[in-house]
């Protein structure tokens, strides 16, 4: 294996996601190549830094609050949505909904749309519903 081939695979090697044969050949190359070992060390250093970024935490009451909220929503069947105010709120809602329809028709990412919203994302009913602020647009 040449260094360029190894370099391309180091990222997957670090993740142990290469198939067994490749994982082995990269390992063998690394045993005999200082430069690629340096590359590997640099890659691991990057990962270590990402892991070391500080964690943020939720308040202690979060789980309880979400549970209560979920039950209430379930009973009321009224999903949460962004409530816009101001003179341009309706226009903004309309534009946003139209944008979404245009975007959705041009993209393949419609999986969650049909899974989670009650209106088909490509329908004008959806746009109308967004205009009234009735559904969330997720």
């Amino acid at each position: 294996m040449r260094c360029v081939d190894v370099k391309e695979r180091l990222s997957a090697y670090v993740d142990r996601e290469l198939d067994a044969a490749l994982q082995r050949s990269v390992g063998e190359h690394l045993d005999g190549c200082v430069r690629c070992r340096e590359e590997l060390a640099a890659l691991r250093a990057i990962d270590a830094e990402i892991q070391a970024l500080p964690q943020v935490g939720m308040g202690p009451e979060f789980a309880e609050a979400v549970t209560v909220r979920a039950c209430k929503d379930f009973l009321a069947r009224d999903g949460s949505h962004v409530v816009r105010t101001g003179p341009f709120a309706r226009l903004e809602n309309l534009l946003e909904a139209l944008f979404e329809v245009l975007e959705a028709s041009g993209s393949v990412r419609t999986r969650t749309l049909d899974e989670f919203s009650d209106f088909p994302p490509l329908s004008m009913g959806y746009v109308y519903c967004r205009l009234l602020g009735l559904c969330t647009g997720d």
């Binding site: 997957a12 990402i50 970024l53 929503d73």
Partner: protein
Amino acid sequence: MGDPDIELLRAIAGGDHLAFKGLVERYQSRLLNFLFRYLRDRQAAEDLTQEVFLKVYQAAPRFEPRARVRTWIFTIAYNLAVNELRRRWRRRLFRLLVPEDPEIEAPEAGNRLELEETMAESLRLLPHNQRAALLLRVRDELSYQEIAEILGVSRASVESLLFRARDRLRRLLRNRGAR
């Protein structure tokens, strides 16, 4: 494939509130941190974390165990986050046409080590899907297959996204010594 969360999800689907609370406690920190690093906005990350759980609760009865529960939960989180970024982008565009109060870029409070700041900053400069893949891999230790499902791309694409993300970070961070 044993999925420890399946039973929990079945219980939730059956209306067990304690099971739901248990699931929230199990995932709240991971989701919050993923969303925070992805969006780089604490408030939005908290709101979306809540949103994810509400969706999980609603959709639990319809969950089909083709995927792992955690993959499914992260998929919901990722899609919400992508929508949030799009919404912001549109809003910014809209504000250009109809100026309102200026968009407040959430400032990050407190003193941070410069090293941290540079890494967080560099992460932000990655393309969205590269950043998501990297966070899911390095911080949440998900497999390429799971990340592929979450991002809705092939496993090979995940490999390439991660390679490019790390390569880009290396190049971005190489310059920081010079600062």
